[in-house]
Symmetry: C2
Subunit: 472 residues, 2 copies
């Protein structure tokens, strides 16, 4: 059983930690972007070094006080707030934001957990390298949270998920020991891979304090195009065609539905829309090529062959970096537009690549049996990852459909499960999908997860209630 | 405490398993390539399905009988034999060798654990795809063992280690439950990544029975070159130059020392050597390019720029696939030539890329303080992974140096450790490096590994004594 933070506990920590570790708990630390959960108060601590994190964790373990690790606060599944249970320590990594080292010749960068993703990208860029992880919240998300949730984003197709971009971690384990695993090695087969266990564990098995990150060369030439496709099947065939012609040069391949453009027009008129009249479906293709290649010509060649094959009906090829940025601004503004409309239910799902058309074809009619909705389906189709979000009709609000939310979610997730997919592709489980994991998760996997959690965190102090239900 | 296999235990299993599961235990199952360990007898079982594996594991868990999972028997650290302790079950996956499915449009192949690596490569090839994992023992190694040891090989530079090529696994856990994790997804953030935990666990946390493997497009054009370089630093600079010019098209980048060619001439005269007089150091560069590119021209351009920069003094560019195969035959024959000479001590190490020259510069003089040896240093320099093997002088045998083996190993491994490297880059820990892991491993990592092992395998039946010392 956990106990709440007390005055005595806080006083004891004040005697052991520098003054700088104590910050005022402002409301921002208790909110999350989708407004589903409201964190309770507690003790906010901002350690400045791994050893200070360890000191805090040891104190919490001894007193059985829960710890909520806090990165940039951008997570979408409520993993950064603790709404129930005894008041916890909220442990923000914001003071640990140093880029400890950059090794351009090795394509490695060492960042502390509190470094903001955009800062890591900038530090890599200043060294003539690319840190390829890129997502809508990169201006706020911190690298520790990005790793703890194994974030995805738009460049997974070419460069992999967050876990694929991490060579080693430093972390504080639930017993307060420091895992010194910041190796800059491409190969290291010395025992169980704790890095991959902590990545994606959402702070429930320890606190990542720093990471050795993998960099890539900056592509000499970049380009982008929007191409109108008849539907998801044509999008997949276009992807295969693009990869066949351009190989690893295809950095991103994003599907968008017209609904997203309509939402942008309605809620974010400042975003300039590329199409006069948006097609029902389109893809945003991004290329990163070598010095000898011309992205616009490459995309023109792709479009010509795709048009010949009947896969595309219209296309816009960026003629400048500004135009490419404008295409991306459209894509990256979709989540905020969605938030302004107010989804009844949002789904971050993945299915095997070839099952995408079937998923989209079946999900709409299945939902229509529950009620009438607007659906914005978009996402990283090259990774089999869709954001399938369900909205009220114009004039209605999400509150009008509150009673249907459970049925909508079950409808979408049951279909995903039937197609061999995942009910959380890139956002994680957090608090939001604990039930889903119990419902759809493999029983042997769940049992093993519980055994690992109990072994490494017997008091259950690390991010209680996230991923696994906290013991009653 | 474990108990030995008994007649009664075997009789009980005979009543529960099909006759085909019982095979004669021939001496081959008790040997390993380097002859360091001799396995004891036991009960050989060859299950034909995951459920039969589960039945065996449950019986062993109930009776506390140890299990040694057996793939192709090609491991180099003794993980496939149990020399001491109560007689175990030797569990060979050789009957589970089906390619269950190939999904070329998704770049996925599902293989059972007993499928031989070369068979997986061939099945991918028949579907117009590449399974890029490639290593000297690919004609015997089985995919389950390849994953259990997180094998590396020559294409890691471009395509990653075994773990990077695995999307999902089916496995039997130490309690006999079946982990159904054969998802064909690029993104799946639903809880702890047990796939990455079992990959590299060398059979100590369960038995992998099948895997969803990631395929790649077959490069349209391939090419290879041997280039003489002045030394390791020049090799690294040549690598940077090659990647800058050719990007992901560089599939492999292997360093070889003249000593290896001398060993080939001495022990394998049937291997045709490419150089009339081998340079002290050379690299084998392998390219996989798109349809529009010419590998030989690309390599000529690279050579010209490298020569201009003073990095290369001589070069051989393959003019045909046959010549490329001949270059690779030289590289792939090195391990067997080494075995025929007979190493006193072999080291599979990695260091940060930029530390390779320092490692090589310091290791030789450090060893010279112990005695006079021949050193064959070769390997995957693009991954920071060297095979640094120490041999007796001509006319001596390894037996003459038996007393120096411990000092040699400590000398090499201490230097690796000082440079932030790994004492097992791609071969794993097995039985051979249990001591090294205790000596060089991070204490927090070791404690967490022991906690995980105890939680998932409380009776300690899975590959006892591998990676972690078996409890006394």
């Amino acid at each position: 059983m956990l106990t709440p933070v007390t005055e005595a506990f806080a006083a004891d920590l004040r005697a052991r930690l520098p003054e700088a570790c104590f910050r005022e708990l402002t409301p921002a630390y208790l909110e999350e972007p989708r407004g589903r959960y409201r964190g309770q108060g507690g003790l906010l601590l901002a350690p400045g070094a791994a050893e200070e994190v360890a000191e805090i964790v040891r104190a919490c373990a001894a007193a059985r006080v829960g710890i909520v690790p806090y990165g940039g606060g951008t997570g979408l599944v409520g993993g950064q707030v603790m709404a129930e249970g005894p008041a916890p320590v909220i442990l923000t990594l914001e003071r640990m934001r140093a880029i400890r080292a950059v090794h351009p010749a090795e394509n490695v960068l060492i960042a502390e957990a509190g470094a903001i993703l955009a800062e890591v990208q900038a530090a890599a860029g200043a060294a003539g390298r690319l840190f390829p992880l890129s997502l809508a919240s990169e201006g706020s998300a911190r690298i520790g949270g990005v790793l703890a949730t194994n974030a995805g984003g738009v460049n997974v197709l070419r460069y992999g998920n967050a876990r694929d971009l991490c060579l080693g971690i430093e972390a504080v384990l639930p017993d307060g020991s420091v895992l010194h695993g910041l190796k800059r090695l491409r190969k290291d087969n010395t025992g169980y891979d704790l890095r991959h266990l902590l990545i994606g564990a959402e702070g429930t098995l320890g606190v990542i304090t720093a990471a050795a990150l993998r960099l890539a060369p900056i592509p000499a030439r970049t380009g982008a195009a929007l191409m109108a496709v008849e539907g998801p099947q044509a999008a997949l065939e276009l992807l295969a065609l693009a990869q066949g012609r351009i190989g690893e040069g295809v950095s991103a391949f994003e599907l968008m539905h017209r609904q997203g453009f309509d939402f942008l027009a309605e809620t974010m008129p400042e975003v300039r829309l590329p199409w006069a009249r948006a097609p029902e479906w389109c893809v945003l293709i991004d290329l990163g090529l070598g010095a000898g290649q011309d992205p616009a010509l490459t995309l023109e060649g792709l479009f010509a062959e795709a048009a010949e094959a009947g896969l595309v009906s219209d296309g816009l090829i960026a003629q400048s970096e500004g135009q490419r940025a404008a295409f991306w601004s459209v894509r990256e503004s979709l989540p905020l537009a969605n938030r302004r409309i107010g989804a009844i239910s949002s789904h971050d799902i993945s299915v095997p690549l070839s099952a995408i058309p079937e998923f989209i074809a079946r999900a709409g009619p299945a939902l229509a049996r529950i009620g009438q909705f607007r659906i914005n389906c978009f996402g990283h189709v090259g990774d089999g990852n869709l954001h399938y979000n369900v909205f009220p009709l114009p004039g209605e609000t999400r509150a009008d459909h509150e009673g249907r939310r459970v049925a909508i979610k079950a409808c979408v997730h049951d279909l995903v499960d039937a197609l061999g997919g995942s009910v959380s592709a890139e956002h994680g489980v957090g608090r939001l999908k604990v039930d889903d994991l119990e419902r759809y998760g493999d029983p042997a996997k769940l049992a093993a997860m519980r055994a690992i959690k109990a072994a490494l965190d017997p008091a259950g102090i690390m991010n209680p209630g996230v991923i696994l239900r906290a013991p009653a």
